[in-house]
């Protein structure tokens, strides 16, 4: 802890980078997974292709993906894109299933009622299906966010910022407090992000707790 207070500026700087590198992919991945999840829920074929593909992508070690990305995309090895793109892939791989399952769990008679009331497809998706899928979707988003916050550290191995830098530097200079600072930062950030999403989820879905 003392390391954090003595090196506050440095700690804040890596926190910022870490936050950016984990949150941006979650947002992009989340937005991408909504139409993909919708598509997977609609068509059996899409589901049969996308789900196994997502599983395979998720099993690729993050370090491998981070190293390969610059080669595939033709960007510089030190570009933040190299962490963002793999993490987007992981987020989509995780969220796709959540979104598809959440949409599949919307009660059939609610959908039939919506159709019978005269909703057009897009409006129905935005105002009925998607809001009802939110609780499960947000649960998936929380998992993806926490997992991203932990994975960003790997980026330090290819020279990118974030708490990972504190691990590599601390290890090389035999500075245990520095390593611990990175660990504390990661855990605190993960807990805060998770709590924030939980709170947002509760605010967005007051109906979900309106039991009898």
């Amino acid at each position: 802890m003392t390391w954090i207070f003595e090196n506050w500026e440095r700690f804040w700087e890596v926190t910022e980078v870490h936050l950016r590198l984990s949150v941006v992919p979650v947002l992009i991945g989340f937005v991408l997974s909504i139409p993909l999840g919708w598509w997977a829920n609609r068509s059996q074929t899409t589901r049969a292709v996308l789900f196994p593909l997502a599983n395979v992508l998720f099993t690729i070690p993050s370090i491998a993906l981070i190293v390969i990305t610059p080669v595939l995309l033709g960007v510089k090895i030190l570009d933040e894109i190299n962490v963002i793109v793999p993490l987007v892939v992981y987020t989509v791989a995780l969220m796709l299933r959540s979104v598809a399952d959440a949409l599949a769990a919307v009660p059939g008679n609610v959908i039939a009622a919506a159709n019978a009331m005269g909703f057009r497809p897009l409006r129905r998706f935005l105002t009925v299906d998607f809001p009802l899928a939110l609780p499960v979707t947000i649960a998936g988003l929380r998992v993806a966010t926490v997992s991203n916050i932990s994975m960003v550290s790997v980026g330090a191995l290819v020279g990118l910022g974030g708490y990972g830098q504190l691990f590599t530097e601390g290890y090389q200079t035999d500075n245990t407090p520095k390593v611990l600072a990175g660990l504390i930062g990661t855990v605190v950030l993960a807990v805060l992000a998770d709590g924030l999403l939980l709170l947002i989820g509760r605010l967005l879905t007051p109906w979900a707790r309106a039991g009898r």
């Binding site: 009660p107 008679n109 609610v110 039939a112 009622a113 919506a114 159709n115 019978a116 009331m117 005269g118 909703f119 057009r120 409006r123 009925v128 809001p131 009802l132 879905t205 007051p206 109906w207 979900a208 309106a210 039991g211 009898r212």
Partner: protein
């Protein structure tokens, strides 16, 4: 409106509770629904509806009844194009539904689904306001209308802010009916709306529907697999047979008296003679009965009816000799009460009473006398002789 007047005569007994405060006018719009040689064949080759020809009269409740897989729900869903027919035409007020784009068509036709199908994430008021909002009403007007409907279906205004999960099944279905009525559609489709609630609540909802219809005068198509519900609600009942055939389309009394074939006969049930009594009104002699109040000392000779301070029945006393004090724990509970309406009620009261005497009550629930099963049978014979029982 001959159909309307007749219905009030036939099932008028169910319309109880008097007029309600809010009146919703349909502006005299009455729609006829016609099925012309309508066939629906699904992709797997099964025929759900086979050459259906049927006219739903304006301003009536028409019930489609039959076992599962008989095509009753498919027929209903073809009216608002949730399913399109393979061949044939469906006309609503003379207009072919296939010429109207489905969302537009559906906003003009009320729909009540099984288990209500309310939107769990919207408050009761917002649920009711769904169709007005879809049709572009402004929010305030839609909300005002929703609040009005909440009252019409008999729910307290404070339900408006609740979520569906905070309501009982019966209350949810009332909201379902309110939601279907919100844009004041002339046609209402009801797809087994009361099948998921318990019998007592179901009866409440059925009576409520009859009360509403007496005021609203909509063209209602109601689907059920329950023949009792069909006979109670329908001015006309269409009995569907497995394979999508229309077996018979008739008034309830005709259906009971003259089933078109063995299928209809077995579907309306072995007790159809008993059900027929529901539609008969005849005078049954009411006999006086000895009554006593709790705490009194009386001499019991035969069955004595114990009543409360307002003269409402509490139970029967028997099996004791000589002078006794009337005590609550000695009472034998009574059967159903007869309110002086149909022969079925009279017979049931007599048959279900431990004393074989059916208790007759007035509008306030006070005892006026008793009826006997034998008298009901005689009244039935008289009604037959007078030609009131259709052959």
């Amino acid at each position: 409106m001959p159909g309307y007047a007749e219905r009030v005569k036939v099932v008028g007994i169910y319309i109880q509770g008097g007029p309600i405060g809010v009146v919703v006018a349909t502006g005299g719009i009455r729609r006829v629904i016609e099925f012309r040689a309508v066939t629906k064949r699904f992709e797997d080759g099964t025929i759900a509806v086979d050459e259906l020809d049927l006219t739903v009269e304006a301003g009536t409740i028409t019930v489609f009844v039959g076992p599962s897989g008989c095509g009753k729900t498919t027929s209903l869903r073809m009216v608002n194009r949730m399913i399109d027919p393979t061949s044939g035409t469906i006309l609503v007020d003379g207009k072919d539904v296939l010429t109207v784009d489905p969302p537009t068509l559906r906003r003009g036709i009320g729909y009540v689904i099984q288990q209500a199908g309310l939107f769990p994430h919207r408050t009761v008021l917002d649920n009711i306001a769904t169709v007005p909002l879809l049709s572009g009403w402004d929010k305030r007007k839609a909300r005002t209308r929703a609040a009005e409907l909440l009252e019409i279906v008999g729910l307290d205004a404070n339900f408006g802010k609740r979520y569906p999960a905070q309501l009982s099944g019966g209350q949810q279905q009332r909201v379902g009916v309110a939601r279907a009525l919100a844009a004041d559609p002339p046609v209402l489709l009801m797809d087994e709306p009361f099948s998921a609630v318990d019998p007592v609540v179901r009866e409440d909802l059925q009576n409520e529907l009859l009360r509403l219809q007496a005021e609203l005068d909509k063209t209602i198509v109601f689907v059920t697999h329950d023949i009792d519900e069909a006979l109670k609600l329908g001015e006309r009942v269409a009995v569907f047979q497995t394979g999508g055939h229309l077996a018979q389309y008739a008034r309830p009394t005709e259906l009971l008296a003259a089933p078109a074939n063995d299928f209809v006969a077995s579907f309306v049930g072995r007790d159809r003679g008993y059900r027929t009594l529901t539609f008969l009104h005849a005078d049954v002699p009411v006999h006086p009965i000895d009554t006593a109040k709790l705490g009194e000392r009386i001499t019991v000779t035969d069955w004595t009816l114990v009543v409360d301070e307002e003269n409402r029945p509490k139970g029967w006393l028997s099996g004791v000799d000589g002078e006794v004090e009337v005590r609550e724990q000695d009472l034998i509970s009574g059967g159903s009460l007869y309110d002086g309406t149909t022969l079925r009620g009279a017979l049931d009261a007599a048959l279900s009473s431990p004393s074989a005497l059916g208790v007759v009550v007035d509008g306030a629930g006070a005892v006026t006398g008793v009826v006997q099963a034998g008298d009901v049978i005689q009244a039935l014979a008289k009604a037959r002789a007078a030609g009131e029982v259709p052959k």
